[in-house]
Assembly symmetry: C2
Homo-oligomer: 620 residues x 2
């Protein structure tokens, strides 16, 4: 039997495509059959039966587009506060359990791309916690050390991905529940901007702030999962928001990354070293690292548990708690927190919202020129014993750098930062403004290459990430973009290419013009040499161009950088399509010193030839 | 002594500039001396003393830039829930009164432009009401009929502007308080998007929804007041939001205006006729009128008084009410409403917010393709007696078309709709999406020209508006715009000029190019003839152009409409400035059929000459 431990999406999909459906099914059935549920394995609250896997597989086999499915036959675990048809939803509270009639939207999205839901995972009850021990289903041990916690609230999801059982696992995140377990399990996780993943069919914690997130072993897998689930669901989720048509792809080659001026480590000595190294690796990507006073953000964080937002947790559970559920099904710490909400009335709630809005005014100014915040994902790697001693304090310390993110309407990518001498991992989190998820992935990919130049082990498996941390840019929305052919210094790798990056352009193709053009090297009037393209009715030639998709709303910013005698007009491509393109005034290529370079076929060939001539003509 | 009744801003400013400072001061002092306060005139809670006017005037005289001040010496009234230094703030509750140490931001803005604050006006206590009778300072009578109400909550402000005493009056608006009195007093009012006018120094009603607004006798005055107060104040107001750099100026020549499919008139027979006529006048401006189901918006409106938002009113007054203020200083109806908030806790508050967000998801879809909603400002012209019988029901009927606006994050312009046979006015309100205030003004100006083609009386004065309803477009933010010279069919009044309007462009100047250009009539390859501009090194000429400011973020939309052989490059203007401009590929003006039209000096002269030739060459 093949060992599927730590398989990435590509490995699963390749395997299924290369083997027979029966073998595939058997592999998946064997995988679930090998799993124990709580209390034996506290990571799982429930696991699919062989029959349930067969049922899912048969539905998948009936699909006509199997070959195109991004998650064809990929085993996915689901945090047990997210509905998946065929499983109970418990929110880690046995007396709260119900059987959902339909999938949550995110599970539906995953299944539409071919995912197989293999089980439901344990969590801090009602997703209230960052530790993973607040559950009557048991405390989830850390895969690297049984006496350490797995982190929460998505503790089970973290454990089953780190151990390479599930390829992906769904999480939720109100205060850090998707990020803290990623750090403690050596995983990648994306916590999107509020509303980018639908929360329809998710048991609310703080409904106005809740996000669904996902754990993966590799950055590429996290991005694929993001692609699959980042879909508007405004009919079902009050807080659903579509990503903008052309989401930011990159913060540029030199992003401004802020780190806190005052760190808080609560006595921890090893994690500061991992963090320091991670920031050095970020700097090595070309980023500018600046120190920032995080006071306003930390003030915002305090609103979450000290303010009326616990009222949201109460709003979500009040009706259930009014039924007087059996005490042994409740986690005392969790219920204690939720019940603090009863002291707040409507007037208090609004007063806290004013406080938040006031802090947000300051935060907007603070972050005006900052691209990304880079923080330790969590300060500590707590033990079960630490938590017994200080169930609330340690939890709250763990949320130092995560609690403010949703209140500030930001998104976050948690990444591994390596291992401590005791063999435990911790991580770093990159935090961006809303809807910058793709740019976080791009920066994350560059960071991982610097941090783990030779090899990176995934989760608690012994497998290496290999090419799994490569990412792909999002597909541009051509209805909200302009196709632009570039001819000269904007070609990839050339002197003005950064102008295209700056306006979030995407390369569509390298091609040539039709046969009706001539190309000229214009007399140099600045530091950068430029060509001029001329349309002719005879004696023309094909000229090499690259076609980019430029977001409509950024085109003005681009054209503002184009000097005379150049302009943006239209050009006919080899295949007969007309697209926007650099053009040149006649005045430009009739100037003295202009050189007809049509015979080179393109600007790059001419420049390379000119360079060669130049260097060969040097006397030394 | 001159009669200042119903003077507009221009009349006041002109007067002050033409007379001596002493005469100006005397006129202002005479004006305030002639005013009685409540109970004699329930519109005023307090009026400035002669000494206070002198104090303000002296400060103004010390200013070095008197000639540039938009409101130089213009008398302004302030609703008594807005702080103005030198006056008590009562919120129409004597026991709540306090003496503010500084001006509210809006009053500060007005004074900076030269306004003189002449007094504080009555309101429904704590701005809770749409009737103007809920005040221990007395019921404000309607200037057209003493037995009718002036409308609220900004009742006093409505009365003193309608009577031509104050030139402008500040208002607030949470549920319609700036709009309803405008309708009942034959005034213009703007209720900006939440946060566009600062609420710092304003007694909150529902702080997250409150807006400051303004009454004026003319549209031009309302727009000037808007210019003066539309300033970000994010340091002092949690909800302050800057207008975008290039706010929309126009919904275009054919805006899509929605009217409710189901009207609610509550037995009223005359106002439906005024409304019908107003919609006909809107249609006559070129607007497309469509019927829209307002159910979702009316559901949103219900949240305001039936939901937890009364908790905001309680948050604002709780501390004060806890002091057990004397009963006779409180309005029973108002306090009754506010105290309903005590039944809501934090969980309820969040549940209502979820409800609101759910409705907003539907509203966004509903209004996707709609530019403006046009509704009756208020269904009724209630009498004092009506209110005695039904103090809550009539109030709530009056808010039918106003209550939802702030909850839906929209702005509104209230305009006169003429008079009923009983001599009472009513109005129409144009409602736009957030930050479309300038476009509402532009549409409002076109509406007023159709509705009152010969003459329009202002407020309850007998004066005519004359040119007072003319408006000016907002100044473009050149740092967020591209200067574009147009040469041909985009010139004002010509066939493609609509493309500039579509992208919210502003004309900066008409000028010419430098002497280095020639102009060609290109062979016609579509319905619209186009010229090509050619830069030459000799035998050039100046060519007439118009320079527009095009918002940076809309430039892509514009260039997408530019066909080959044209493009956007750069041109040198007469004064040596280089701006973006239409350019033409050599291929274009070397085509067969091209005509050198340089001698015409510009496209318009050529087209007119061509037309003349064409018509003279017709045989009949």
């Amino acid at each position: 039997m093949v060992d599927t431990t730590g398989w990435t999406i590509d490995e699963w999909v390749d395997f299924h495509h290369k083997t027979t459906p029966d073998v595939s099914l058997e592999i998946l059935q064997t995988l679930v059959a090998s799993q124990k549920i709580a209390p034996e394995d506290p990571a799982w609250i429930s696991v699919a039966s062989s029959a349930e896997i067969e049922h899912q597989w048969k539905i998948l086999q009936a699909r006509s587009n199997k070959n195109e499915l991004k998650l064809y036959g990929v085993p996915v675990a689901v945090k047990d506060n997210i509905d998946a048809k065929g499983f109970e939803t418990t929110a880690a509270c046995p007396s709260f359990a119900y059987t959902p009639e339909r999938d949550s939207t995110v599970v539906k999205n995953l299944r539409e791309e071919g995912a197989i839901i293999i089980g439901k995972t344990n969590l801090d009850q009602f997703a209230t916690g960052l530790v993973g021990v607040r559950s009557p289903y048991g405390r989830v041990p850390n895969p690297f050390s049984a006496k350490h916690v797995s982190g929460g609230s998505s503790s089970g999801s973290g454990s089953v991905v780190a151990r390479g059982i599930a390829c992906l696992a769904l999480t939720t995140d109100t205060a850090g529940s998707t990020r803290v377990p990623a750090a403690l399990n050596n995983l990648i996780s994306i916590k999107p901007s509020v509303g980018v993943f639908s929360c329809s069919g998710v048991v609310p914690a703080c409904k106005s702030l809740d996000c669904v997130g996902v754990f993966a072993l590799t950055l590429g897998d996290a991005e694929t999962a993001f692609d699959v689930m980042a879909k508007p669901d405004t009919d079902n989720d009050e807080y659903s928001r579509p990503l903008p048509p052309n989401p930011l792809q990159s913060f540029g080659s030199k992003p401004k990354i802020a780190v806190p001026t005052h760190m808080q480590w609560f006595g921890e000595e090893e994690n500061p070293k991992l963090y320091k190294k991670a920031i050095e690796n970020l700097a090595a990507t070309g980023a500018e690292i600046v120190a920032l006073d995080f006071t306003d953000l930390l003030d915002l964080a305090k609103c979450l548990y000290e303010g009326a937002w616990v009222g949201e947790r109460y709003a979500a559970t009040k009706e259930f708690l009014d039924t007087n559920p059996p005490e042994e099904t409740l986690d005392k710490t969790v219920i204690g927190i939720i019940k603090t909400a009863t002291k707040f009335d409507a007037a208090d709630t609004f007063k806290f919202e004013y406080k938040r809005q006031g802090i947000l005014q300051k935060v907007r100014k603070l972050l005006k020129d900052i691209d990304v915040l880079a923080v330790p994902t969590c300060p500590l790697n707590p033990t079960m014993e630490d938590l017994e001693k200080e169930p609330v304090l340690v939890n709250s310390q763990q949320g130092t750098w995560t609690n403010f993110v949703n209140l500030a309407d930001m998104c976050a990518l948690a990444l591994p930062a390596g291992f401590r001498p005791d063999g435990l991992p911790n991580g770093i989190t990159l935090i961006g403004k809303k809807f910058t998820e793709y740019a976080l992935f791009e920066l994350g990919s560059r960071y991982l290459k610097k941090a783990f130049p030779s090899e990176r082990t995934m989760g608690a498996t012994k497998k290496l990430a290999l090419l799994g941390d490569e990412i792909h840019p999002p597909k541009p929305d051509l209805s909200q973009s302009i196709k632009l052919a570039v001819v000269g210094a904007h070609l990839s790798g050339m002197a003005l290419h950064w102008q295209l990056e700056k306006v979030n352009a995407t390369l569509l193709k390298a091609t040539t013009t039709s046969e009706d053009y001539r190309l000229y090297a214009l007399p140099k009037n600045g530091p950068i040499a430029k060509p001029g393209l001329r349309r002719v009715s005879e004696a023309g030639s094909k000229i090499i161009v690259e076609v980019y998709s430029v977001p409509l709303e950024r085109f003005g910013e681009f054209i503002a950088m184009v000097p005379q005698p150049l302009g943006i007009g239209s050009v006919e491509l080899e295949d007969g399509e007309w697209v926007k393109s650099f053009i040149c005034e006649e005045f430009g290529y009739t100037q003295k010193g202009t050189k007809d370079i049509t015979s080179f076929g393109g600007w790059r060939a001419y420049i390379e030839s000119a360079k060669a001539t130049e260097s060969s003509s040097k006397p030394f």
